[in-house]
Chain length 409, copies 4
């Protein structure tokens, strides 16, 4: 086990920690520690809400979570010799739960709190708790399923340059300006009040916080990509934007379906990452890198049986036709899958949570056949303890009755 | 080998065939033949252009293809006992090339002819020819790659009901009306002149042709889904909309990347399908079916090494931020992959064709992290005869020089 | 489709064919045709018994098969420039059934006729017929299973040199001499009477037949390896022993379990191979080749769920302990699996046939833990239409009653 | 993380531990702790030599290891309600290294010390040390390879009944009697001197030790099966022979090739297992269980490219023909692979160690084609950092020079 470069003490709020996390991105956040190419180190991370969600049977905490404070990131870690234009090679040698915290949670956010992909269908706060059993997970709120997690950091990236910082702030501000009062909002602008700026302090931190990125979206540096296949065992290539690179990470997921559709949609947890680092000098230019690229892990589960749902870009409510809109098409695929799963006894909310957490594959299958995009959602049938495939006699209500994802109280 | 229910004589134009294909969808197209649940039969199909594209080294035919005539479908085949509300279970027992036609083609359509997913980057007609070698394909126009095809019908579906026909015509007309002169168009309305209505004749056919669907988009009955994983060995569940179901198919692909991004983007070919059929009575209601669902094939190649490109929903030209737009995000992922492949010596057009034809996985990885959708495109590294993974010394120009996809003359 | 270099006319006995097969190996068998490195060609093959087994419901033909006549090989095909010491690179581009013969058979051989791996348990002749449905097979004699074949030639190899011919004849004669009257025999010596020597004729053929190898065992040139993973899409590297190499093949299997335990144990069929050839000059020396090596196919089915049976090297009847004997250990694993399958309603003979035909994995798991070898046999659970995994309530008799593999009459 | 039921203090010899391990099997060894069906618990284990092998660069410790003391097992753990004839269902929920011991070792045993599968070729003591990097391992003694471990217990089983104890003692004694002075021996009889009998003490322990099984071979209760696929995430079904079942385990491997051919052939390590238990009452009878059966893990790496070596049952030295001897055939496959790997620069000993430790597949491919068994050994090509596939120009010496597995000093 490599040395632990960042310690997450789950017994108190991250705001009280000695080595501070950061929940904003800014070029000037100081490095926590410098490493050399070839080094390996362990990083512990808080769950993305920093402990705001607890292992109980009420969704009040999901309803009340303060989303301006989230994504308590561990880092940034500096790399000697790294310069803008290099590629930072990051091996996710291992990712796992912390021994003292063998559980995770999934939330459906209420519309007022950002909502999720299917907010119009599931507008209220809900929560499910998951327990880990070695490589497997189960939930007391979503019965009759069990699978091996594809554990991954939802969020990992390098520090942005000033140029990138400003460019993204500008483009996001322009988007917000097109509908500034929308609920949920189109994007989230810088917000200094709850900013944690890592080891940056005082006036400098306060000034930086006013322009620092929120951590919600992925950007050219990586960030909150929420890619389930960027998992333990994968190798990631990040563009370097500042001297020393500055690698930070957090928002660890035990498992996630493509799209992370409930927004707080993965199985969220505190955990650790074992990181190996290396450099490709001038790699951005050599390889034409814009966004990160990666090689997935050899130990991703390979399921051999899936049930696949199609969706096309026609709005489910109005029947309105959209033009090659993969967002709408994937939403329809998800809704189709949810209706199907309900036939076996799941509540809509349980099915929604399942699609956000299980290793489902969300694909852009056809994107040129005007006017319909065709997206597919593939559910591995082996995660269920009953047979979900269609047959002549129709679905059997196989889901344990009397349990559901939990509501607010 | 089951009996051949539909014969495609490639030596003459499909318009000259004795048993006529259809290139429109309409509830009243007569069944070619009736089958019983449990039956198996073979169906031969013309390539989607009905022979308009030839195995030569000029893209003139791609430039000149008449897109109002395309999708020469074999069928419809009727199923005894099938009624609206049933599910038609279709086993794609086998799909393959015709012995006399062991080759396929990929076209990049010019903007004037519909364009493709990256029409702003590749606005001109181009063509690549592929040769089949048993389960593998190679191209004299795209060197240094070879892979096993995931052979599938781009287009397969059941006859629509009148209600569905009218509903879709209406919603597509409304979309067209928002920008009726757009090039390429937003959608394609009914067009009687070049309609082939199968065994329907005379006045009845002429009238039906005026309202019959064009075959371009997938719809609730299946149709032109272009899903690469709906391949030989898969089982598909279609909603039945008319008495007898009416299953038709065509547009066979030797191989396709997710999205079929060059539009004529798969490796297009004439071929055959071995079909097995069965029924689930009242299945639509029992399983809540809206669009088709399917189980993929056990013999899809499982690659263990991929290189994955990320893209986010920021326009590549203007830098404009889009809101959770998976279309834009996937376009960026594709463009990132193309830039990368160019570093090894491929032309942009070759790389574009590769992404449309090779078994690349296009995923909606994150669709809730406002404002950026994050899509990924995964390329199996094993299809190349050189190592495309990043390394410290940078890419080596490994692609055979002096060949390219072909242009118009 | 490449040109057909060898035609198998199934309407008459192979002895009556114009271009003769060979059922012995000898250095001097003339080449059927010469090819150049880079060439591709199609080869049709008789089933291994040359049509002695028919698609009916009696095992009389299995009981009566003349095993001195079997393995009607297509070839040898010569390669220009091939010399002893080279490696012949053979691409199995495709392997499949002949359109006019979409079925196969599996036999259990009687003790008097060679028996099989479990001859002491199943000493009588039995037969099962399999029907092909596209990529899948089913049997009217072994119900409730269906799977995609890993189609492969049981037998493929290059012509031996005179030195190799004599060396193997000598070592096999020495083995036979240790127990010359054993039933079944330890090995089969040359036997001229029923020899087919391809295009070799007259006195020369008669003389050669007296020393020519029988085709039963695999040897250093390849031959009857019966490796299920040497399948359509694989690439094989053969040592070249004579000028021109001389590649012959036959004994095509639709599917086989590791070990081919019923002896006539695969799903045997007539079929075709599409072959691509190339040379590595002086490859035997360069790579230290003794036996052939190969790269398996990318389209082998990858099952994700198996049930695995262990066996150790203790004889099932006497309880006698054997020393690291993988033969005994694998037999025990097979017997354990058969007993298990019987609990669901299969007859012992059906289960035996299943293990010989389905894509089961037979592994030497431990071979050093004195005195027990530990072998395992892994059955993919997905080939059954019921759940064969253990559970608390015990096995359910799920196998269709009233059918069985067929006996002699 | 479940509660730790057994603690392995690596800082001192297992003989000094408070809760004693056992290195013999006997029906009367007392349970360490009782659990109920449904319980989960963690078990720590010493490496199989109990710390006799150290992380240094001399093989003296491998040469000097006392093999009468080995297999320090943690347990037995009892299960309430378990009775003879039941099946004990064991979930290997997780298996891993201990944080304080992120390394493992592989030994080649000298002939005098038991030797290995290829003892006639590699008769001297050798050692390689492996370092763990998250899910991957590398070795300073075997360069240019890196792979993800399929972590598993080499040894796990239930307590034998008295009847089974005596039966196995008898059959093994009879084998030994056939050649009692053989080096290495045919089997190892009970040996009281170095026996550790767990919590059994005094006279009772001394008496039991005289008849207790040595732990070397697998037997009907499981034991030292050394099956690489019985790995983290798998579910194993053990016959119960005594009241309470008595589950013990140890000999954890980070990775092993099929056969574990160097004897101390896996990557041996101390580690932990997270165990879940359940019962199938009367399961032995219900399912006809003789040896354990299991379902493998969904997170085993699935490699898509292998290089496969064939071997047949002809002795490499004398050229003698053996009758369907899978032991000889697998040895030839291993030797063929070693010769091949040497062409790239590995020493024979390095190649030998590689085959024993990397996730190679050893298969009984053909076992009926008299007189040759055909075994295959499949090496995943992706574990190498160079291309090991054959090509026209021949192998390149790619292995880092100047390092080798270590010898005695």
């Amino acid at each position: 086990m490599p040395k632990t470069a960042f310690k997450a003490d789950l017994s108190r709020a991250p705001e009280q920690a000695k080595i501070k996390t950061h929940n904003r991105w800014h070029p000037d956040i100081p490095m926590v520690e410098m490493f050399r190419p070839g080094d390996e180190f362990r990083v512990e991370c808080f769950d993305w809400t920093g402990g705001q969600i607890t292992n109980n049977d009420s969704a009040n905490d999901v309803r009340d979570v303060d989303l301006t404070r989230v994504h308590y990131l561990s880092g940034p870690f500096g790399v000697e010799g790294a310069e803008p234009g290099d590629i930072l090679v990051v091996d996710l040698l291992d990712v796992g739960a912390l021994p003292e915290s063998p559980w995770g949670f999934t939330g459906i956010f209420a519309r007022e709190n950002g909502g999720g992909f299917l907010v119009d269908h599931f507008p209220k706060a809900r929560k499910a708790i998951w327990d880990f059993h070695g490589i497997y997970c189960t939930s007391r709120h979503v019965p009759n399923v069990r699978w091996a997690g594809i554990i991954h950091p939802g969020l990992i990236g390098t520090l942005p340059s000033r140029e990138l910082l400003e460019r993204c702030n500008k483009r996001e501000a322009e988007l917000i300006a097109t509908d500034p009062n929308r609920v949920p909002p189109l994007a989230v602008p810088p917000y200094a009040d709850t900013a944690l700026m890592g080891q940056m302090t005082d006036k400098k931190a306060q000034d930086a916080a006013k322009e620092a990125w929120r951590t919600v979206p992925p950007r050219e540096h990586g960030g909150n990509c929420d890619i389930k296949n960027l998992s333990r065992g994968s190798r990631v290539y990040f563009p370097v934007y500042v001297k020393g690179a500055g690698l930070s990470m957090g928002d660890i997921h035990w498992s996630q379906g493509d799209g992370e559709i409930t927004f707080c949609g993965a199985i969220e947890m505190a955990g650790f990452l074992d990181i190996g680092i290396d450099l490709i000098k001038d790699g951005v230019n050599k390889y034409g890198l814009v966004n990160p690229i990666f090689q997935p892990s050899p130990i991703e589960p390979h399921f051999s049986e899936y049930l696949v749902f199609e969706g096309i870009s026609v709005d489910e409510k109005s029947g309105k036709q959209f033009y090659l809109d993969a967002h709408v098409a994937y939403r329809r695929a998800c809704l189709n899958a949810i209706e199907y799963l309900k036939k076996f006894g799941y509540s809509g909310e349980q099915a929604y949570v399942l699609l956000g957490t299980a290793p489902v594959e969300g694909r852009i299958s056809g994107i040129v056949d005007i006017p319909n995009a065709c997206c597919t959602l593939a559910i591995p049938t082996e995660i269920f303890d009953f047979d979900i495939r269609p047959n002549a006699s129709g679905p059997t209500r196989s889901v344990t009755a009397g349990v559901d994802v939990v509501a607010t109280s």
